[in-house]
Structures are given as structure tokens and as C-alpha cells.
């Protein structure tokens, strides 16, 4: 069939530039990381880097910080995203404006907004302290970015503010895909709001929640911009995630293969997360 053969050639020609770019910029680096992690100055050194990694206290602490960050920020984003999506799904006056503002943080540069948050959390001139003092929640100004626990809180707040819109948009799409007849049918059967949510909304939203969960978790494992700007990993390394340690390793200590080893570790970690999510929560494959 010459025609379909032509069509195949033409199709291949159309995707070829994208194919090359994706191969070079997305696939090759992952494979190259793998090679780098087993070598030192182009010499094969086996798993020495990985052994070093597991003895590295700084790595352990950055791994702990990363996991803690994921564990707190991702569920918060999912919960708030669900609440916002449910509200934005309602018909009400000014809905378009509200949708725009709720979506807005997603469109703004993370690093620039982290700078904005840094000023908000400033210990002397920050508006965050000022509001809390006025509401008498705190008695004296706190050094938000100067103490480990408080700094961690600030990072989470900035991240949740920035990333919840992504979850909201996905879940809003999910809500819009639920046929309204289902709600009518179950209302006829006398179900109340909570039952409708539990019996229809939540089960039908599950694939969308799963996509949001997978994407947000993997992205959170690589969090960089906001922490680099807000605390630089400090005070005293207490908020340093893996990505900041990788950055330091590569650009300050110039240890490329050790940096790659950490990257391979987080790569495997994210695959394990995805596997667990699908095993325990998903019954549907990611559909690109």
C-alpha cells in the first residue's frame, strides 16, 4: 500500500524534529546520569559512589528534608486543590474573576514569587509578622527564615500557594467530566450532599487525583527554586533538599559523577513512589 507508506513517512518526518530534541534533551540525560554515577573521570568505579552516598550525612539530611517536604506539601496541595475545585465548580456571580485569581500563581515565576515571599517573611519589615502581631497570634516578631522549623513552614506555605492551582485545574477538569445526570439520579434516590460527594464525586475523580498526586510528588522531590531563594538550604542546612545539594556538588565542588549519583537515587525514588501510588490507589494507567 504505497499511500499509507507515504503517510507513515510523512508522519515520521513531522515528528522527527521533536523526536530528536526529546531524545537529546530528555532521554539522553537520564541515561548519561546512569553512566556518570558508575564512573569517576570516565573510569568505571562500580557502586563506589552509591556506597559514599549512603555514608554521607549531608545527603541523609537532605533526603529527610525532601521527603518531609513532599509528605507535608503534597497532601496539602491535593486537599486545598479539591476544595477550591469544588467551589469553582459552583455557579456564582464573579466566577470568572475568581477562577482567574485562583489560577494566577501557577503562571508566575516560582523564583520571583519566592523573592516576594522572602520580603513578606522579613523579620523586621515583613507583613507576615505585622499581621500576626495585629491579630495577637504572636507576641513578638519572629525570625521566620532564621529558625529551622519556621523556615520549613515558610517554604511549605510558598510552595502550596504556588502549586495548588495546578491541582485545582486538573480536578476542575475532572469535575466537569462527571455527567450531571448521575447527580440527578442519586438525588432522586434521596442522597444528601455528603453522600453525593462520597458516592459519585470522589470515585469518579480518582484518576484525576492520581494524576495530580503523581505529578506533584515527583515535582516536589525535585524542589529547587523556592528553597534556593527563600533559605538557600539554611539555616545551617536544615532546609536543604536533595536538589540543592546536587547543585552545590556540581557547581561548587565540581563533582559531576557524585551529583549524578544523587540524581539517579532520586529518580529511582520517584519511580518507587509512582509504583506505590498505582499499586494502592490506581486502577488506570497514566494516559499521556
Amino acid at each position: 500500500m504505497p499511500k499509507s507508506f507515504d503517510e507513515q513517512k510523512f508522519g515520521l518526518l513531522l515528528i522527527l524534529p521533536s523526536f530528536i530534541l526529546l531524545g537529546l534533551v530528555a532521554l539522553y540525560p537520564i541515561l548519561r546520569n546512569l553512566i556518570l554515577s558508575f564512573t569517576e573521570n570516565d573510569q568505571f568505579i562500580g557502586i563506589k559512589n552509591f556506597i559514599l552516598l549512603f555514608q554521607d550525612e549531608r545527603f541523609k539530611s537532605s533526603l529527610f528534608n525532601t521527603l518531609l517536604f513532599c509528605l507535608i506539601s503534597v497532601p496539602l496541595q491535593l486537599f486545598l486543590g479539591l476544595v477550591f475545585a469544588l467551589i469553582l465548580q459552583q455557579r456564582f456571580f464573579t466566577r470568572g474573576f475568581v477562577r482567574t485569581s485562583v489560577f494566577l500563581p501557577w503562571a508566575l515565576p516560582t523564583a520571583v514569587m519566592a523573592v516576594a515571599w522572602k520580603w513578606i517573611f522579613n523579620d523586621t519589615y515583613g507583613v507576615f509578622n505585622d499581621i500576626l502581631l495585629r491579630l495577637q497570634i504572636i507576641k513578638e516578631p519572629l525570625a521566620w527564615l532564621g529558625k529551622p522549623d519556621l523556615a520549613f513552614f515558610c517554604i511549605i506555605l510558598a510552595e502550596v500557594w504556588k502549586c495548588t492551582p495546578f491541582v485545582t485545574v486538573i480536578l476542575l477538569a475532572g469535575l466537569q467530566s462527571i455527567p450531571p445526570e448521575l447527580y440527578e439520579a442519586i438525588s432522586v434516590d434521596g442522597a444528601n450532599t455528603l453522600q453525593r460527594f462520597r458516592l459519585i464525586t470522589l470515585p469518579l475523580l480518582r484518576p484525576f487525583l492520581l494524576v495530580a498526586l503523581v505529578f506533584r510528588t515527583i515535582q516536589a522531590l525535585g524542589v529547587f527554586d523556592s528553597i534556593w531563594v527563600l533559605t538557600g538550604g539554611g539555616p545551617g542546612g536544615s532546609t536543604e533538599p536533595i536538589s540543592l545539594y546536587v547543585y552545590d556538588t556540581v557547581f561548587r565542588y565540581l563533582k559531576f559523577s557524585y551529583g549524578s549519583t544523587m540524581v539517579i537515587f532520586s529518580f529511582i525514588l520517584s519511580l518507587i513512589f509512582v509504583f506505590i501510588f498505582y499499586k494502592f490507589w490506581g486502577d488506570r494507567q497514566i494516559e499521556y
Partner: protein, 288 residues
């Protein structure tokens, strides 16, 4: 109609309405507050921004921060770099995405699964996974400090969303149009350039906006920080982050706030004007 409306007395109905709107207002404020605070602070003069107690409305609106900023050649350079890089990213990504989107939606394609797998890799993992080998690659290609070092990865990592949107749109174009064109003796290439692309103008516009305001192009931070080492080749997010970094008094905060506002304002205007399209584009993508 449901009996629900009559189950409650008008007073309770009114109260739920009021509390619903209060909740909505609270959510909107929460999302806009960091940005609005930047606007307020950017309109203060240097004395006022470092004075206590904090003023929520500047006593005298001062544009001095903006004036200083616009006459700062380095900041203008950052802006110029960002505009150049994100516009070329948007253009090339749009081009590649419409070609491959057409191939994915219309043609029988070999390697389709593998191509989609590559797209998934590119959109799933955070930048840090790709950083080390990409840096190596850019250094080998002598692209460090050159705009191309950012355009290449930006186009690649913006592709998944763009291909998503374009494929989704092409699928809504009736097949009959093309069948008729084939009978009329149009080649596939002619169909694409003379019929499909002109029909797709609205989708192309949506797609372009999504690329521009997405996590790459205008907003990206890590690659820009790593690949653009020279002061004059930096992009705005990195420039601002570095300005606010070293010491608090290096640049007065009203100027930093003004820089944040100038950087985010174009995005906000985009989002306000194209709100409907953006959310539709994203939800259509997420629905797939």
C-alpha cells in the same frame, strides 16, 4: 427541580450564601495577596519601605523605584534576554508541537508509543534530573551563556503540554474536510499548511500563551541559573533572585518589589485577557 431550595428557610439560605461569598473572597485574597503586597511596596519610596509601623497604603505614591529600575542597564538586559529566549521558545515549540500534534492525531504513525513515552518523561520529572548531563552537553557544544542553551531545553520541556493541546484540537476538526481535500488532489503537506493550520489559529494562540506562561520560557529558573553564568546573559527570574540574595541592603526592597511586579505583570495581563482560553486549553489537556 429539586426540593432542596425549599428545605431551608430563606434566612438560612441567605446565611449560607453570605458565608459562601465570604469564603470565596477569602480564597481570592489568599491567592492575590503576595502579588498585591509587592505592588504596594514597589510604590513606596526608600524611606517608607524601611519605616515602622508598616503602612498598608503608601503615604505618597512614588514611582522612583520603577524609574531607577528602567534606567538600570543590567535589569533591562535581563528583560531583553528573557523576552528573546521566551519568544523563541514559544515560536519553535509551537512549530514542533503543531507538526507532531498533527501526526499524532491524523496519521498512522510508527514509534507512536515510544514518542509518547518520551513526552511523558519530559513532563513528569523535575529539572534537577536533567541538569548535570545537560550542563555537560551545553558546555561541549560551547553554548554556555548563549540563549540557545536555554531555548533547546525550554522547547523540549514545553513540548508535552503543547503537543497535548494541539493534538486535542486537531481531533476536533472534522475528518471530512481532509478527505475532500485529498480527493481534490491536495498533498498531505498542503492539507496541513493550507487547511489545518489556518483553521487552528485559536488553538495555536492558546497554545502559545500556555507555553509562554508555563513553567518554562518566561518562568524557568534552575537551567537559567546554571547555564547563564555571565551577568549579561542572565534572565529576569535569576537576576531578581540574585539581587535579593547577597545582603538585604544591596538593593532597596522597593526596587526589588518593582522588579517583581514588572516581571509578573505581563503574565498577569495575559492570564486576565485569556483566562477562558487558558483554563479551557488546560482542562482539555487534562481531560485526555
Amino acid at each position: 427541580m429539586s426540593t432542596k431550595k425549599y428545605r431551608f428557610s430563606p434566612i438560612i439560605y441567605g446565611l449560607t450564601q453570605i458565608s459562601f461569598y465570604l469564603l470565596v473572597i477569602f480564597i481570592v485574597i489568599l491567592h492575590l495577596a503576595p502579588f498585591l503586597w509587592q505592588v504596594i511596596c514597589s510604590l513606596k519610596n526608600v524611606d517608607e519601605i524601611y519605616s515602622l509601623p508598616l503602612k498598608y497604603i503608601p503615604s505618597k505614591i512614588s514611582l522612583s523605584a520603577y524609574r531607577d529600575l528602567i534606567s538600570n542597564p543590567l535589569f533591562l538586559r535581563y528583560l531583553l534576554n528573557s523576552i528573546l529566549i521566551s519568544l523563541s521558545t514559544t515560536f519553535f515549540c509551537l512549530l514542533l508541537a503543531s507538526l507532531s500534534g498533527y501526526a499524532l492525531s491524523r496519521l498512522s504513525l510508527r514509534f507512536k508509543t515510544f514518542f509518547q513515552f518520551l513526552l511523558l518523561i519530559a513532563c513528569l520529572f523535575p529539572q534537577i534530573i536533567f541538569l548535570v548531563p545537560l550542563y555537560e552537553l551545553m558546555a561541549n557544544l560551547k553554548l554556555i551563556n548563549k540563549p540557545l542553551a536555554l531555548v533547546l531545553p525550554y522547547v523540549t520541556f514545553s513540548l508535552p503540554l503543547a503537543v497535548w493541546v494541539m493534538t486535542g484540537f486537531f481531533q476536533t476538526i472534522p475528518k471530512e474536510i481532509e478527505e475532500q481535500a485529498i480527493i481534490d488532489g491536495f498533498s498531505r503537506l498542503k492539507i496541513l499548511t493550507k487547511i489545518i493550520l489556518p483553521l487552528s489559529r485559536p488553538a495555536l494562540a492558546t497554545c502559545a500563551i500556555l507555553i509562554f506562561i508555563g513553567p518554562f520560557a518566561w518562568n524557568e529558573f534552575l537551567f537559567s541559573l546554571s547555564f547563564m553564568i555571565k551577568d549579561t546573559s542572565r534572565t529576569v527570574p535569576v537576576g531578581i533572585a540574585l539581587l535579593s540574595g547577597a545582603s538585604m541592603y544591596e538593593m532597596p526592597w522597593n526596587k526589588i518589589c518593582a522588579a517583581c511586579v514588572l516581571t509578573t505583570l505581563p503574565l498577569i495581563i495575559f492570564v486576565i485577557i485569556f483566562q477562558k482560553r487558558i483554563i479551557e486549553g488546560l482542562t482539555r489537556g487534562a481531560l485526555k
